[in-house]
Amino acid sequence: MKDLINKIKSSIDLTSEAEEFIYSISEEKKFSKGEVLIREGQAVKKTFFVTNGCLRSFCVDKNGKEHTLLFAIKNWWISDYIAVHTDELATLTVECLTESSVIEFNAKELDGIHARFPEFESYQRHNLERHVVSLHKRILNQLQLSAPERYDLFLQQYPDIEQHTRNFHIASYLGITQQSLSRIRVEKVKK
């Protein structure tokens, strides 16, 4: 929790009242590998800040195959933001790929924090901008880069992730088959 508070303090002047409020809407939790934090089809009220471990969000297509949207490692946020912001039921599942520690927030209260503490307005906007940038990059990369280029970028973004994930998680993030991923890895070793 301290890490998160320090992170916020590095961007804005956090009053003790606001700090107290953050504590009041959050709870530190530990989950074991395989535990599901958000389940497709259910209402979503929480958002999670990762302090340790590795989680992923994914959807399941009509054939039963999984597609990974996002991996979340230390200092990342994860939830089903479609559900949080539209009040629809979850289309994503969020699961722990390793034992993970998170700070769980009530998503609505966290979203509304700037109404009580205006200093959060710019902080939240900044976070949202970064989120939009990263999503747009992910879409553009998917559209215009080759699979090996996407894999290289992925490794830059998540340097230690291969210890925590199965091949198919990575393949399903990159939108390629596991066989293609194996080929790309073999080619990389040759280079």
């Binding site: 389940r39 054939n63 039963g64 199965r166 393949a171 194996s182």
Partner: protein, 327 residues
């Protein structure tokens, strides 16, 4: 709900019928699965033909088939390892037979989450064949560098067994017919024996394990290629004495040719009767997700064409599994 039922024993077309039956509910230790796909196996055909009446007495009409994949829609009060919405697969126990229906209730111990990287149809084709192969080769204590002969590598069980044995690091011999040689090689077999042009008995020597998926004379013959102190595991051959006892046949004696052949080699003969097991399916899930094993589907039929699927099964020509898409 709709179900494909066995209404009498005999010819496939006359013995199967689509019936409207009541939807089951989950008992305390069960999950109710909304079926996405079911797969059929040779045993399903044998049951319909009436060949197994003595061994597996079932009340008629009964819904057919054991293999299933789908979504958990209800769970009993004692079930803690599954949640509503989990995507699962199973080889359901005998008393819960009937996966060719919109819903099936299954004891949670026989269920596992399905591999995330394959479709419902691919997952439905796995349980029975995969459990048979895994339990046989694990009984034989398969390990790296073992020499293993798998009879009939292109069958549902054989094709899975080759991949499982390779995942365990074994050296795999397998037999198949000329037209399937390349296909079976792609599954990873080290030495594919074309039984139309080669005699496996001249090629395989001192195998640690022979996996007999053919029965008949192959069971006894397998001892010619197994090493001294090795093991022949069979899923279709004669019962061994221990398994016979389990089936309530007390005075059973192993057929003489098998008894003699195994004695001569000081080797073990064991009949394996596959048992449903969710934990084993979970091991298989890991192997599939790690891309060590690929599911093999021959053909997918829509539910209304399920009887045709059985006719295809009866030809014995399927390469991989025959799957029926339910919803």
């Amino acid at each position: 709900m709709k179900a494909l039922q066995i209404v009498k024993y005999g010819e496939l077309k006359q013995s199967l019928a689509f019936n409207e039956v009541s939807k089951p509910t989950a008992q305390v230790n069960e999950v109710l699965i909304a079926v996405k796909a079911a797969a059929i196996n040779p045993i399903d055909k044998s049951i319909i033909l009436g060949n197994l009446q003595a061994l597996l007495p079932i009340p008629l009409p009964s819904t057919s088939a054991y293999d299933v994949s789908g979504v958990v829609v209800e769970k009993g009060s004692n079930v803690s390892n599954f949640e509503i919405g989990d995507l699962v697969y199973s080889r359901v126990p005998q008393e819960q037979m009937g996966t060719l229906a919109d819903f099936v209730a299954v004891t949670s111990e026989a269920v596992s989450k399905k591999p995330g990287n394959i479709s419902f149809e691919e997952a439905a084709g796995l349980p029975l064949a995969a459990l048979t192969a895994l339990q046989s080769l694990e009984y034989a204590n398969i390990k790296a560098n073992d020499k293993v002969l798998i009879h009939a590598g292109s069958g549902g069980v054989g094709s899975f067994a080759i991949q499982y044995a390779k995942a365990k690091g074994a050296y795999v011999y397998t037999t198949t017919s000329t037209s399937n040689v390349d296909w079976v090689k792609k599954l990873g077999a080290d030495r594919v024996i074309d039984y139309k042009t080669e005699d496996y008995k001249n090629i395989v020597k001192n195998a640690d394990i022979v996996f007999d998926t053919l029965g008949k004379h192959y069971s006894a013959e397998s001892f010619e290629v197994v090493k001294k102190g090795g093991i022949v595991v069979s899923v279709v051959g004669a019962l061994d004495e221990e398994s016979a006892k389990m089936f309530g046949i007390p005075d059973y004696k192993l057929p003489e040719e098998i008894a003699n052949a195994s004695k001569e080699k000081n080797a073990t003969y064991k009949f394996i009767f596959m048992h449903p097991n969710g934990a084993h399916l979970n091991d298989i899930k890991s192997l599939i997700e790690d891309d060590k094993i690929k599911p093999i589907v021959d053909k997918i039929y829509p539910f209304p064409d399920a009887i045709q699927a059985f006719e295809h099964l009866a030809t014995g020509r399927a390469k991989g599994k025959i799957v029926i898409k339910i919803s």
